[in-house]
Amino acid sequence: MKMDQIKQLRQYGFVIRQLVSREIKRKYTRSYLGILWSVLNPLMSMVVISMVFSTMFQRVENYSIYFLTGNIIWQLFTGATTSAMAALVDNKSLLIKVKLPKVIFPLSRVGAAFVNFLYTFVAYLLMLMVFRIKPSVMMLLFPIAALFLLLFCIGISYLLSIVYVFFGDIKHLYSVLLTLWMYCSAIFYPIDSTPEMVQRLIAENPIYNYISCVRKCMIYQTMPSAGELGRMVFWGIGCYAVGRFVFIRLQNQIMQEL
């Protein structure tokens, strides 16, 4: 029995890898440079943004890097959740024909977004070097933050993909919500430029929490506060658990709706 389960998990891992590589190949199917764009695209937009904004917010030290750090986190979150939202609906024909756990479909979309994020991260590292940020031990915190962020994304993706089956409208609602959420995440402005009350509100925002942790360990090379670290773990695990619970509860109902 144990062996069987391990074999099965390995097989699911293989399916997810195949689906992830499909998503990525599809994305670059018509371009010559292909997967290279995953690095080039963020690199080029980073250069543009640095040129445009560095004069605007001179008050913030290393503004470009400040912005880029927030932006890559934000892009991972939105990329993963918006593409995973449609995972069940898009794979409808597969779902009714194959005996695969349904979580595989949103998971592989998040996986594809994460692989993209890793490429972006290469570009980000290059920018760090350009701006002469020295490497430090604190940077080792980054993978841990990324892991919990990933769990957070998976949880939200589970929820969204289920809701999307019942209400297609959520797609539009979510994109509006994302805009609002983005403005509340202090991605392109320094948080202390806002009134104190707003600051407290933003601090409760899980995405901002991840951004802030990553900024601290990558740019300022200080340890995030215990509260921040706690919330980082809490949001990651909590969101994943809730998402998974709801998904498992409702996954048989969706077959009738599809």
Binding site: K7, R10, Q11, F14, V15, R17, Q18, L19, S21, R22, K25, R26, T29, N91, S93, L94, L95, I96, K97, V98, K99, L100, F167, G168, D169, I170, L173, N252, M255, Q256
Partner: protein, 265 residues
């Protein structure tokens, strides 16, 4: 030809043995209900308005209604019926992809393999990539595909095309590849074939029928779904005719198919 001889002999045997044998698949009073919204609600706003007005009515639609029959080891059962009669729903239930709303299906899901063509083919990927993607989805391990890859390509007669994108394939080439991947496995105990027996040109069809025959003769129990009476008569030992979700007739394939054909006239 072999199919015919086998069938004639087996029918008599089945009648005699049926009482003593334990069915490998037993379908008891199975109904499958789908809910269809009377008017499609397209948006959340509309849904709320309708719910408030009490207008959110659903029509219940039975894809299958109180279907019962048993399948015994070694049988080749043909399921026939017009489009939308509930054949494929029945197969999905047996394969475990759907759960019945009422009734019971007793079958060891682990032994069941549903064979469909090109499940999850992605036209933007190359032939080779699709072999891996499709293979993974229908349950092959990476090692298994590595091992069988050459064989699959050879059977599909696609040597030299595998690095092409599948969207540049002809539809015959796609279904040949699908068939080759789907049948590359070891024959399972219970094999379910969903309209796979009319693929490709005349020559390939012969080859594919041979392979299916091989699988049938290796002793597995087979369920074949088709709306072609010829396929059923040629391959099956018993036939089930389903119409609008209700079993109309079960019995000797020739008779059942005759009745089915008569309905159309």
């Amino acid at each position: 030809m072999t199919g015919k001889i086998r069938k004639g002999k087996d029918i008599m045997e089945y009648k005699a043995e049926e009482k003593e044998r334990i069915p490998i698949i037993s379908i008891e009073n199975v109904s499958m209900k789908f809910r269809i919204a009377e008017e499609k609600v397209a948006s959340l706003k509309e849904f709320f308005i309708r719910t408030l007005e009490g207008k959110n009515t659903y029509r219940e639609f039975y894809a299958l209604k109180e279907v019962s029959f048993s399948v015994y080891p070694g049988e080749v059962i043909g399921i026939i019926g017009t489009n939308g009669s509930g054949k494929s729903t029945l197969l999905k239930l047996v394969a475990g992809a759907l759960f019945p709303s009422e009734g019971k299906i007793l079958v060891d899901q682990k032994k069941v393999q549903l064979l469909t063509l090109g499940t999850g083919f992605d036209l933007e990927l190359t032939g080779r990539e699709n072999v891996y993607l499709n293979g993974a989805i229908i349950g092959y391990t990476k090692e298994y595909i590595d091992e069988k890859y050459e064989e699959i390509v050879k059977f599909a007669e696609l040597e030299g095309f595998m690095e092409e994108k599948v969207k540049n394939f002809s539809s015959g080439m796609v279904s040949r590849l699908g068939f080759a991947i789907a049948t590359a496995r070891e024959t399972p105990e219970i094999l379910i074939l969903d309209e796979v027996l009319s693929v490709g040109d005349m020559f390939f069809r012969k080859k594919s029928e041979q392979r299916i025959q091989q699988m049938i003769h290796s002793g597995s129990t087979v369920l074949i779904v088709s709306h072609s009476a010829d396929v059923i008569v040629k391959n099956c030992s018993r036939a089930v005719w389903i119409e609008k979700g209700v079993v109309r007739q079960i019995g000797e394939p020739k008779e059942v198919c005759k009745a089915y054909k008569n309905m159309g006239e």
